[in-house]
Amino acid sequence: MKRITLALLSAVLVLGCGKQAAQSTDPGQGTASGARYTIAVIPKGTTHDFWLTVKAGAEDAARALNVHMYWKGPDKETEVVKQLNIIEDFITMEVDALVMAACDESAMIDVVRRAKDAGIPVVTIDSGVKSDDPVSFVATDNVAGARAAGQELARLIGGEGEVGLIPFVKGAATSEMREQGFKEAIAEIPGIRLVATLYSDSDAAKGMNVTQDMITANPNLAGIFAANEGGAIGAAQALRADGKAGEIKLVAFDASDEEIAALKEGVIQALVVQNPYKMGYEGVKAAVDHLEGRPVEKRIDTGVTVVSMENFDEPEIQNILNPLSK
């Protein structure tokens, strides 16, 4: 009797789990009856403003193009395996196309190939994969963006001094490209020396710790470049806690509420702002174009804008900063 109960219990558990996995694919608000295609959009993380803005763009495109959209991603950008499983499940579900930001440029090569083999075209957004299989790559030119950040930081510290770099995850394509772009810009200016590179893991607490250690190890530090939101929030909090706000110049990628607040407060001097809304929108649009046989460019650059208090109030800048209020 006991054994039967146990068997039943485990059966229920297994079924329960399976059901949960299928349900948690939350349909986007762009759902319309009689949608022409079903497209899955897979971000790298779901908890940052950046991805919520990508979502808003993707939803608007889905609505405009009459597409049924799924939105599902791992909680954190470091969860490579979780993302892999999510993509595999969508291949099993036979969606019409995948729009994804790869948590890891190498680990996702194989699954993208399998999607293609199954007849599901893949468009990568923000973070690509190291292969030719995706139909298109819709993203910021991160090298160019980070180069702009490096030049801005150089200008802020008067062309000479020691600087530190806070990338987010080693091996992630976006992180590596921003590292490269920043280093290129710094290398062109003889008076500036890069003295420390520490990773934030896209986590504010970790970002705060490494920034403080960086300041301790390099007492003459004049400027810091934080390559994404998590690192920037941590770095800003570290500068506040150490009373170094304004003294050590901070340039950061992205523009979350917290980062904008830090910009207004004077802790961050400049933000390099991408256009995540455009990534979501153009990503879904590229997938639909491909499905309908229209030619799609292999690389679509969504551009960056350097925002400081000098140009903050311009309407054009406000539009880029607050796409969610549109």
Binding site: D75, A196, A204, A217, Q237, A241, D242, A261
Partner: protein, 317 residues
């Protein structure tokens, strides 16, 4: 003397480590740096103190990281909700709400383990997922930010001694609880041999449940301290902290078989781990190598500790 060294090897290792580093690295002994290490420690120290109780009974609590995140998020949401209605005492009520949710997690996990006879590894693993999921549901995945100014004191960015005092107070309280009360002796007895503990009249189930409740309560408090320090409550915060807490306890001389270990040891273990990471950053050792280094040191320290205890006959074969 030999016996003292063997019993307190974590403290000895910590002292030697600190002296050595302080002698070799001027950067490390700067008051600014020591302050930062000091206010980074409470989050893990408080968590590890609670974890010690569970480990002493022969259990393990894998949910502490998630419970900390959930508590931080509930605390943050409550503060925000009350602030927007300009109600008084929002910070106190927020902290209380966070602690209450954490305690609830501990009650559930403890009940399942003590009365439901589910292995602690499994019940706390389940609670780890439940609490993480709850934190994500409550926030819709979006970090909560923008707290009133007075909330910042708890985390130590306005004075490192505030969270450090809380931590030392908790360590002292738990040490007294373990050494001078009936409950404390019962905790050691349950971990030593739960059968004979039961036969000698100790309420094994009840006490086993209590250690989970205390552990979760402290994890919840750690989560609130972390929220205050970073000034943001992310549903994905404190991921992996459970293993750091367990590692700290073990470095501090606790045995995962139960019945052996001290809260002071866990505090020493936490400090050793924090100092190692700080040191790696100051020495420009890359993040990847830090992980290898810290992992190896955890194993080496515990191996050394075990060897020492066996030699001095303190370890049961």
């Amino acid at each position: 003397m030999k016996r003292f060294l063997a019993k307190h090897s974590p403290l000895v290792i910590l002292a030697v480590l600190c002296l050595l580093i302080a002698a070799l690295m001027p950067n490390f002994r700067k008051p600014g740096n020591l302050k930062k290490v000091a206010y980074r420690t409470p989050v893990f120290g408080i968590m590890a103190s609670g974890q010690t109780l569970v480990i002493l009974t022969g259990g393990i609590d894998l949910s502490v990281g998630s419970v900390a995140a959930l508590s931080g998020v509930v605390n943050a949401k409550t503060i925000k909700a009350m602030e927007s209605r300009s109600l008084p005492a929002s910070v106190s009520v927020g902290i209380a709400a966070g602690l209450a949710v954490a305690t609830l997690c501990g009650v559930l996990c403890g009940f399942a383990t003590a009365y439901g006879k589910i292995p602690a590894f499994i019940s706390s693993l389940g609670m780890m997922m439940i609490a993480r999921g709850a934190a994500l549901v409550i926030t819709g995945g979006v970090p909560v930010r923008g707290f009133p100014d007075r909330f910042a004191y708890l985390g130590g960015t306005r004075g490192w001694y505030i969270p450090v005092s809380f931590m030392l107070f908790i360590v002292a309280l738990l040490t007294i609880l373990l050494l001078a009360t009936r409950f404390g002796r019962a905790v050691y007895a349950i971990g030593g041999n739960s059968q004979s503990a039961r036969l000698s009249g100790i309420p094994v189930h009840r006490d086993r449940m209590w250690v989970f409740v205390l552990c979760a309560l402290l994890a919840g408090f750690a989560g609130i301290v972390e929220t205050s320090r970073v000034d943001i409550a992310a549903p994905t915060a404190a991921e992996g902290y459970e293993l750091e807490a367990v590692a700290a306890c073990v470095i501090g001389g606790a045995s995962l078989m139960g019945g052996e270990g001290t809260v002071i040891g866990a505090l020493a273990g936490t400090l050793i781990m924090q100092i190692l990471v700080n040191l790696c950053n100051l020495l420009h050792i890359e993040t990847d190598w830090q992980k290898i280094l810290v992992g190896s040191l955890v194993i080496a320290l515990v191996a050394y500790d075990t060897y020492r205890k066996r030699k001095s006959g303190l370890l049961k074969e």
